[in-house]
């Protein structure tokens, strides 16, 4: 499968209702729209899009919905450190599937390190900017995927 890990766009620093309810900032929405345009120019389509229930991830996923051919699905597994339940979720896809995942740091880096290097602890090797995308390929098991690209938002906006 092709797996695209997307870190949520730039969000407000705080919200009255706590961290879960932090929305994207105006600049975050504006910039991420350009990221989406870049992804569109690359011809990216998702057959499935997973996202965390935190507001900033929900809003980021909403901006990506124009690239989704299949369904979107919210999962609390993306609002916590990556574990077996997340791998189980990703395990049900075929070779031709293109799955997007919208989540948070440091968990997305940990997930990428786990899938590519086999160890979550090596996440520091990856720099995942807000609105950035990591493109992985292969079976979603520890050490089973290859990192094809780690795209910062500035590059995607420039496409």
């Amino acid at each position: 499968m092709q797996l695209y890990l997307v870190r949520h766009a730039i969000a407000e620093d705080q919200a009255a209702d706590g961290d879960d309810a932090r929305p994207l900032s105006e600049a975050g929405v504006r910039r991420f729209r350009r990221v989406v345009r870049g992804l569109k120019r690359l011809g990216l389509r998702f057959s499935k899009l997973y996202h965390s229930p935190k507001l900033r991830a929900v809003q980021t996923a909403d901006l990506l919905m124009g690239l989704v051919d299949g369904e979107s699905e919210v999962t609390p597994a993306l609002a916590e450190p990556p574990g077996p339940s997340l791998l189980e979720l990703l395990g049900g896809f075929g070779e031709g599937d293109r799955v997007g995942v919208v989540g948070h740091e440091p968990w997305l880096s940990q997930l990428a390190a786990w899938l590519v290097l086999g160890e979550r602890e090596r996440a520091a090797a990856l720099v995942f900017k807000k609105g950035g995308v990591a493109w992985l390929e292969g079976p979603p098991r520890p050490g089973g995927m290859r990192l094809l690209a780690l795209l910062p938002p500035s590059v995607l906006r420039a496409i």
Partner: protein, 244 residues
């Protein structure tokens, strides 16, 4: 501002009853809340979370349809001019009960799933909608009803009527969020709902008979009569423009 809180709490309050399964109202209200929350999302222009709510509503709907078939509301009996009161044939009822058991098992898995926990958590995080934004979106609901109504008037098929029924229900819910008048829509929705009950029952009866179940001509006739009567009522209401 329009918050989804009321229907989100309605959903959460009815989840325990839906899980227990001792009161059909539990699953019914979960379905109603899910549908109303989808309309709220549409009023807000959201494209995410619709699939999650659709998944929940579908699972609840399957159980609800079967429960409604097996336990008609009090005072509701099937009547035909020739045969009088017709009860659910025993073999068909037993077949439906087994389908209900399986549907309930599937629904329970959904109700206890991380996906539902994530869905309610995400909905709690969404900010309320500004009224002017929701008002602008209401026009989409109106246009969809007009489109569906035109399609049904052109074809007169049950499929197009079903699509119109759904569009009317969404328009009603959208107007209710905006505290607008819905009495005309409620009356029409009630008539369409009764018609749909007969259509759903006939669908299950077809499936039962195709699977080798003993045919029940009296019961079928009563359902067909209910469907035809419902179609006549709905057709009159729609043709006379009572909705608008």
């Amino acid at each position: 501002m329009i918050a989804p809180t009321r229907w989100l709490l309605h959903l959460e309050n009815h989840l325990p009853r839906a899980r227990r399964g001792d009161d059909p109202e539990g699953v019914h209200q979960v379905r109603v809340a899910g549908r109303r929350l989808r309309v709220w999302l549409e009023l807000g222009g959201y494209r995410v979370l619709h699939d999650d709510l659709r998944w929940l509503v579908r699972g609840a709907g399957k159980v609800r349809d079967l429960e409604a078939l097996l336990t008609p509301r009090s005072g509701e009996v099937l009547l035909t001019p020739r045969s009088g009161e017709v009860t659910l044939p025993k073999s068909f009822a037993a077949w439906l009960a087994e389908k209900l058991r399986i549907a309930r098992e599937e629904l329970l898995l959904s109700l206890d799933s991380p996906r539902l926990a994530g869905l309610t958590r995400a909905l709690h995080n969404l900010p309320p909608l500004p009224v002017p934004q929701a008002r602008r979106r209401l026009e989409r609901f109106e246009r969809r009803v007009q489109k569906r109504q035109a399609a049904w008037q052109a074809t007169r098929t049950l499929e197009d009527l079903h699509a119109l029924r759904r569009a009317l229900r969404r328009l009603r819910y959208a107007r209710e969020y905006l505290e607008q008048e819905v009495e005309d829509l409620k009356a029409l929705q009630e008539a369409l709902g009764q018609l749909n009950d007969a259509v759903v029952a006939l669908g299950y009866l077809d499936e039962f008979e195709a699977a080798g179940g003993r045919s029940a001509p009296g019961y079928r006739k009563s359902l067909e009569a209910q469907r035809e009567a419902g179609l006549a009522v709905v057709g009159r209401r729609l043709d006379s423009g009572s909705r608008a």
